[in-house]
């Protein structure tokens, strides 16, 4: 498989006071591959995704790094070139479908507008088919409805329909099910998985929930305090986690006897800029040594299986 997207040495910080937010992130997405980024709030997972599309919020700037999509560097590209990539070749769906849709515009027209902006087929028939593909029960009535007439799950389906209409090579999904009920979450997970397979699309799924990611992706990237803690296939991550943070996350998923203590990670995640020269996990780690507090562990290993830890876990956890 060929590489679709590679992110190289991406470092982001606040523009004003140069606080480090994302520190030297490297990863690759192959064609047709599905990749998950897992991390807690503030771990830099969303910023990493936004920087792929050149959508960094005001006040955050890219200090270094390259984003290579289909062989071309796009992080320094001009607006027109980016516009060609955004939507056409990389689409993104967000956490809150209500704020992503225009409340004053009927759903059909919004989708047509998006299609027109990207010189795609904006025929009503084509839009109806897109709505049908994502499992909306009556596409015709959806076409002429406003977003408020729909539930959160249905709105997220509309967003997915809109982003798949342009047949992108990569779909970035930033916690699209967090605002939804669990039964609806299940439906959306199945839908995205099915669409990815049907369209031979790559997927980058961002979530704080390891268990959701694990059902959907081939490769998992675990982020912690602005850095990649560990990369590996789902099987490797679950069966043989190397970073103590990953092991802790998996531990908290493991079934415990009723009302027995859950395995938890003590303490709280630090801000990335406060741990720029040490291991970010040192204060919460059971295997901490002097080295962890004085120098920063680099990501070691090959591209598809690497981790950043001086004292990696040994042996299987489960």
């Amino acid at each position: 498989m060929t590489s679709l997207l590679s992110v190289k040495n991406l470092t982001l910080s606040t523009t004003l006071d140069k606080k480090l937010l994302v520190d030297n992130v490297n990863f690759e997405i192959l064609e047709g591959e599905s990749v998950g980024i897992v991390g807690e709030s503030g771990s830099g997972k969303t910023l990493t995704a936004l920087s792929i599309l050149g959508l960094l919020p005001k006040g955050v700037s890219q200090d270094s790094g390259e984003i290579i999509f289909q062989g071309k560097e796009i992080s320094q590209a001009d607006k027109a070139a980016l516009q060609d990539v955004r939507g056409n070749r990389i689409s993104m769906i967000y956490q809150d479908p209500m704020t992503s849709l225009n409340p004053m515009m009927k759903i059909g027209r919004q989708i047509q507008e998006a299609a027109r902006a990207h010189n795609a087929n904006d025929d009503e028939a084509n839009v109806l088919k897109a709505l049908q593909d994502v499992g909306i029960p009556s596409p015709e009535s959806c076409f002429s409805s406003y977003p408020h007439e729909f539930s959160g799950g249905m709105r997220q389906r509309v967003m997915i329909a809109m982003s798949l209409l342009l047949r992108p090579n990569l779909l970035i999904a930033d916690e699209p099910t967090t605002a939804l009920d669990v039964t609806i979450q299940r439906q959306i997970l199945n839908l995205v998985d099915e669409q990815r397979r049907n369209n031979a699309m790559s997927l980058l799924w961002i979530s704080h929930d390891l268990s959701v990611v694990a059902e959907l992706v081939d490769k998992v990237i675990v982020m912690y305090a602005g850095r990649i803690a560990e990369i590996g296939s789902v099987e490797e991550i679950f069966e043989n986690p190397k970073h103590p943070y990953t092991a802790g996350l998996i531990g908290s998923l493991v079934k415990r006897k009723h009302q027995q203590k859950l395995i938890s990670i003590p303490g709280n995640p630090p801000k990335p800029w406060t741990v720029a020269n040490q291991c970010g996990f040192a204060d919460r780690c059971a295997h901490v040594t002097q080295e962890c507090r004085t120098s920063k562990p680099e990501l070691v290993g090959e591209g598809n299986r690497s981790f950043a830890c001086f004292n990696p876990m040994k042996g299987a956890l489960l």
Binding site: E40, S41, G152, D181, V182, T183, I184, Q185, R186, H208, D209, L210, S211, V212, A214, E215, V234, E235, F238, E239, Y245, G248, L249, S252, L253, V254, K255, R256, H258, Q259, K261, L262, I263, S264, I265, P266, N268, P269, L318
Partner: protein, 265 residues
């Protein structure tokens, strides 16, 4: 203290009374002293309305809430004079439940002064530190303001604040949904510890059946303002009767559902 909810209905009306929303429809259940009742359901099923009615923040349209066999309205006077509140509520969002201009010490002091007003200054301080340490917040942090704490610590402070009223029943409305995964396990452990230590009764409201089944002795499943399933946690999890409960159970992401097990790797 036993809590009983009898045939509670709640209807919200628009000003013109043209539109009504039936938030709760004939809800009845009871909770034994010292046990944990979990309530699950999706957004809009009425679980938050129910917890607010139990806590006395809303009045039911019809039906009643009995505490130790006494109607909640009847004991209102009696409660006001007593040095404790039987029911306290802990909310989902620890960010908006604390006054940003008040140190944590003062936030707790405020409550202690109401329920332990006979204490002198030194004893008040001891009581405040005792409450904070029961939730794992050290004395040295008590002079800090809410923004200096993380989400998990803030939720601990909210729990300490509700314990200051010496409740016997704690209504926990989505207490961990706003927290990070690695922190939420910590709070669950704390809640289970406190429950045993003070023999509290919990009403644990959540959309997440995975957490509810772990903590609860009995589980209520709600759908569209009605209870569709009520039983001990083993009954509900092992032999669900209602179709919706089955769907909820199937939707819990668990290690068994993972790809690795599917592929047999």
């Amino acid at each position: 203290m036993k809590l009983e909810v009898r045939n509670v209905t709640k209807v919200y009306e628009s000003n013109s009374k043209e539109r009504t929303v039936q938030a709760l429809n004939g809800v009845s259940f009871s909770v034994e002293e010292g046990s944990i009742l979990g309530i699950v359901g999706e957004s809009g099923c009425g679980k938050s309305t129910l917890s607010r009615i139990v806590a006395g923040l809303e009045e039911p349209t019809s039906g009643e809430v009995l505490i130790s066999g006494l109607p909640r309205k009847g004991i209102a006077k009696f409660i006001r004079k007593s040095s404790k509140r039987p029911i306290q509520l802990v909310f989902q969002d620890p960010y908006s439940s604390l006054n940003p201009r008040q140190t944590v010490y003062h936030a707790i002091e405020e409550v202690v002064k109401i329920y332990d007003h006979e204490l002198d200054a030194a004893d008040t301080q001891t009581r405040i530190f005792e409450l904070l340490s029961s939730v794992g917040i050290g004395k040295d942090l008590s002079h800090r303001y809410p923004h200096q704490f993380s989400g998990g610590q803030r939720q601990r402070i909210c729990i300490a604040r509700s314990l200051a009223a010496k409740p016997e029943i704690l209504v926990l409305d989505e207490p961990v949904s706003a927290l990070d995964v690695s922190v939420s396990a910590d709070i669950i452990n704390l809640l289970l510890d406190l429950q045993r230590e003070f023999n509290l009764t919990y009403i644990f409201v959540s959309h997440d059946l995975g957490i509810v089944k772990h903590v609860s002795d009995s589980i209520i499943v709600m759908l569209a303002g009605e209870i569709v399933e009520f039983g001990s946690w083993t009954q509900v999890m092992d032999s669900p009767k209602h179709e919706y409960t089955k769907r909820l159970i199937a939707a819990i992401p668990s290690l068994e559902n993972l790809k690795i097990k599917e592929t047999g790797a």
